[in-house]
């Protein structure tokens, strides 16, 4: 494997991880709508068809339930299907297969048959995409026992986490924030080293308040930390990265240190994954808190068409206001 030093985008890192995994393991199969000749509508699978052939890179008919269902069968045979569902909004037709079968296969065969598939899906708003192209459904899967749910937020973490997802013996929902696909570049060595699933990443250490987020909202969360720093407030920023399993230890340790917490996510508020984190904090760290936990989330509405995306997606101003509330600065 070549050790690249050129900086790459998140979508290129996904591509690099897929190529590495396919090279390393002949059982890895990539399938989905437009993943072959076109290399995916976001180019995440570009070049894979040429490199690995039409036997392993499958342009499927247009049907998500079919993609998920067929992946379950392949996975049961020990193949490692990595399917792309074109946008998270179009995960919905596949939900029956994923929630009725993929996540239950191991349990209902009492460990006899596993389901090591990966569902890759771009998610979230902010790129002026049409209706149904900007959804964030992490909670739907977090609420469904038997799968893992991973959210990439940088090129390096996308590379390492995707490799881990592909090597994992259970179904993994791998969410890629479209807004970050080409936003940042990083040098990502193509070393085949996976990052552990179930671990959160402390992106910035701080003492006064803990800011917790994942996916594209990490961008605004980090900017908020910068703003707070200008005002002499030191914020710790954590990328949850693995929604399930959740690294509660890292989250709790931080909140116990700062006593204040703001959780930021793009999905609607009610039953958003922020609610789960807030519940865990109240169960296990309530005596460390000096202020109520705050959530900055999408509103409880269908994510609006793109003109109002900005008003919907948690902004620095909203995160800042929430952080100041925990600091009693308002």
């Amino acid at each position: 494997m070549s050790h690249t030093t050129t900086e790459i985008t998140l979508v290129e890192a996904v591509n690099q991880a897929l190529a590495y995994a396919m090279q390393q393991d002949p059982d890895v199969i990539v399938l989905g709508e437009d993943v072959g000749t076109n290399g995916g509508v976001f180019r995440a699978t570009a070049g894979l068809l040429d490199k690995f052939g039409a036997d392993r890179v499958l342009d499927t008919p247009l049907a998500e339930s079919m993609i998920a269902g067929a992946s379950i069968g392949m996975a049961a045979q020990g193949l490692k299907p990595v399917c792309e569902l074109q946008f998270m909004g179009f995960v919905l037709p596949a939900i029956d297969q994923l929630l009725s079968h993929a996540i239950r296969m191991r349990n209902r065969t009492r460990g006899r048959i596993g389901c090591p598939l990966v569902v890759r899906t771009p998610f979230g708003g902010g790129i002026r995409a049409p209706e149904h192209h900007a959804e964030s459904f992490e909670s739907l899967f977090a609420h469904s026992p038997g799968c893992k749910v991973v959210v990439a937020s940088t090129p390096a973490r996308a590379y390492g986490l995707l490799l881990a997802a592909i090597r994992d013996p259970d179904p993994v929902i791998f969410m890629e924030p479209m807004r970050v696909y080409r936003l940042v570049k990083q040098a990502v060595p193509d070393d085949g080293i996976a990052l552990p699933l179930g671990r959160a990443f402390v992106l910035r250490e701080g003492a006064d308040v803990t800011l917790i987020s994942w996916g594209a909202s990490i961008q605004e969360t980090l900017q908020t930390a910068d703003e707070l720093a200008k005002q002499g407030i030191s914020a710790e920023v954590i990328d949850v990265a693995s929604i399930k399993p959740l690294d509660t230890e890292t989250l709790l340790r931080s909140v116990q240190k700062t006593g204040r917490c703001v959780i930021v996510h793009e999905a609607p508020r009610t039953c958003g994954f922020g609610a789960e984190i807030a519940a865990i904090i109240s169960e296990q760290a309530i005596y460390s808190l000096v202020a109520p936990v705050q959530r900055v989330t999408g509103y409880d509405v269908q994510i609006p068409y793109f003109q109002l995306e900005k008003a919907y997606i948690p902004s620095v101003a909203r995160i800042l206001a929430a952080a100041k509330q925990t600091l009693e600065l308002v």
């Binding site: 342009d59 339930s65 909004g89 995409a129 149904h132 508020r269 509103y299 509405v301 919907y312």
Partner: protein, 373 residues
Amino acid sequence: MTEFDSSSRFSGKADKQYAFVIPHYQYLDKEGKPTQSLPNFAQDKAEMLRIYRALQWIRHFDQKAINLQRTGKMGTYPSVLGQEAISVGIGHAMQKDDVLVPYYRDIGAQYLRGLPMENILRYWGGDERGMAFAGLSESEDFPLSVPIASQCLHAVGIAKAFQYRKQKRAVVVTIGDGGTSQGDFYEALNLAGTWQAPVVFVINNNRWAISVPLSLQTHCQTLAQKGVAAGIPGIQVDGNDVVAVKQLMQEALHQAREGQGPVLIEALSYRLGDHTTADDASRYRPAGELEQAWIEEPVKRVQSYLSHQQWWDDNQEQALQAQIQEEVTAIVDSYLTTAAQSASAMFDHLYATLPDDLKIQREQALRFEGVSL
């Protein structure tokens, strides 16, 4: 025609067999010459001029929409270039009280059913108001559907309501060739067949589903034959021939309204543009295919027919183009001068009455509206 005979694969002697015929219809060939005796409407100059005008109008509007996207004034847009005859044929065949359940390449039918086209621009321009059907609020037509094939089932439900109320009305639902791979499509065909529901299903077979060619979508020789398994008549029409589309649609709609059940129409066309403005077909479209498809395109053949009939000349053409240009420009201007919507828009129609907790969220959204950072 190639034979499809399941008995050829098995050794025994079949004691029964069933045969199915899928016909293909064309009235005007690519030069605009009649291939069989034409229906009355096609011999009616005024009607054919109306149809031609609609085709040209849609082509013009479509190009404007692409330009708006290219200049950053609109979002992603799916062009209908090359498929105008399907949508215009549908629009011309429907009666006012029929219901249209469109997908995203049906602006011709929507236009002919009276939808002020600013709505279309607003929708693709990321404005909630695009779905308000401003200027056509009494319409029972559905808005276009983005989740592929889901609309097919809605159409059968609407048709069931017509049946239940003993109304002589019909539903038209459209879908792309790729969409026929979805379960919802088959479920809808099956249900419509079982209920003998007054639905006409129209497949716009433009040969591509983004980058996936029909050959990777199905092993079937035709998509029309998918009706056979549901007990529904399936036919193919030349989707570049607006006379064929309108004629077959009219017959199918009439049958549906008269209680003779659903029909599946596969209209063969070609996507002359990219899938949407976010796509680049040069990445996957084989060389030469586009050039060939342009020879068959639907607008020119009507123009040729009109000329053969001596119903049309260059002056008329220029006058028409100028008129359309003016109309479309007015629509674009109206779109571009639409005042921005408030953040309240994402809450306004979520429920008949907005619950109190959401009123609090709406206030918060309004408070942060326009706050920089």
